[in-house]
Amino acid sequence: MEHGLRLITTDATPALELARTLEALLVVASQPLPVEELAAAAEADPSQVEEALEILGQRFSEGKSGIVLEHVAGGYAFRASAAASAACARLFEKPAEKGLSQAALETLAIIAYLGPVSRPEIARIRGVNVDGVVAGLVERGLIAEGGRDNEFGAVRYRTTPLFERIFGLESLAALPRVDDLGSDVAEIRGRLEAVAEKRPA
């Protein structure tokens, strides 16, 4: 009899139980948590965790709550709702992303797409010395050292999970292909030649 009762009370709400556990984990975490990490901490199946995250995603969404669940940087994390952005801005700074210059964005782009990549390689593409810009990005926590060129040589840089979080990327694979964005070598070359032809001999 007692056993039966216990079965009823626990079996009636395992999904709810799990959702609450995930809420608790997400509210104390300092980084986005991947499904596997949530599953290990909650001692649940990843598939159950995904179902529970679905429920939480509906409850913690824009327009329904001040707390919003987002899938970002390879995991799940809470953020403040966009509706509360003015109040948040009055209380909190956004130091990592404030005043990112064009130079910083280009350098970040090169590291995000080509990384890990060394400073000389970035300088070669941008055509200017990038030491200062790279140091600034390291200080902001948007990039970090990630190994060295071959076994010898220059330090190589990669973007951090904070970068993915700030730019709202589920992972680096979510970056659009730049070949699709722009024109290719042939087109640029064609234009160079067109200019050259117009030039008086």
Binding site: A103, V128, G168, L175, V185
Partner: protein
């Protein structure tokens, strides 16, 4: 009123002020040209021209002369070896190479544009940086330890310190230049070598001077020095190898 090229106000990453001042700083070598984005200067000038609404040929001429001189100077400074590389190419190939580099930079610019848009979209979104106020404090755990370690630590504390040595007073220091020559000769034959192997059999002082010579070569940008971990072999390589890059594969 004509556009005064030299009074053109610039607001660059590396410099803020009139073009004239930039020129004199560069010529006095107080501002490295490698830090200056010349394209920004061109943009600033074109914007100034556009504000006026009519073509000022004198200003354009003066600007072209100045900016092309700066461009040439910068190219020579930045790619001394590559200049030679490009000069060896046929005009066709050189154009191809130039187009390739321009395309690569253009991709970087486009990707930066995407990031800028993303930043704009997420400008209003806030999340917590750092730990939660009432997050649990993790406990530091320690794996089982061998009790012999304690006895060893105690014995180490009971070892008498060595008597002060005066041996170094009689040491003779070989000149650094001797090792500079030696390393340069070695690097002409081989692109990389292992420091420890090359100094095997030398005295401690000689090894130290040999190492000083390496630091000097590193300062001159002739070599790269690498060591996988403290006390691991020190590897020296010529500072010229270049990795190939691809915009298509993204590493996670």
């Amino acid at each position: 009123m004509p556009v005064a090229v030299r009074e053109l106000e610039l607001d660059l990453d590396a410099f803020e002020g009139p073009f004239d001042l930039l020129l004199s700083l560069v010529l006095r070598e107080e501002l490295p040209l490698s830090e200056v984005d010349l394209a920004e200067i061109v943009v600033a000038f074109v914007e100034r021209l556009a504000e006026r609404g009519e073509l000022d040929l004198d200003a354009c001429g003066e600007f072209l002369i100045l900016i092309s001189a700066l461009l040439e100077l910068k190219a020579r400074q930045m790619f001394p070896e590559e200049d030679a590389e490009l000069a060896e190419l046929e005009p066709e190939e050189a154009a191809e190479e130039l187009a390739r580099r321009l395309a690569e930079y253009r991709r970087a610019k486009e990707a930066a544009g995407f990031l800028r848009d993303r930043l704009e979209e997420r400008r209003d979104l806030h999340f917590r940086l750092g730990p939660a106020p009432l997050a649990p404090q993790p406990e530091r755990k320690l794996a089982p330890q061998a009790p012999e370690k304690l006895a060893a630590a105690l014995r180490a504390l009971a070892v008498e310190p060595p008597a002060p040595s005066v041996a170094h007073m009689a040491l003779r220091f070989p000149p650094v230049s001797q090792f500079l020559d030696r390393w340069r000769a070695l690097l002409r034959r081989r692109s990389r070598f292992d420091f420890d192997q090359e100094v095997d059999g030398l005295s401690r002082v000689e090894v130290a001077v040999a190492f000083l010579a390496l630091l000097e070569l590193r300062k001159q940008n002739e070599i790269a020095i690498a060591q996988a971990a403290p006390f691991a072999p020190i590897r020296i390589s010529r500072a010229d190898a270049e990795r190939s890059l691809s915009w298509n594969t993204v590493s996670a």
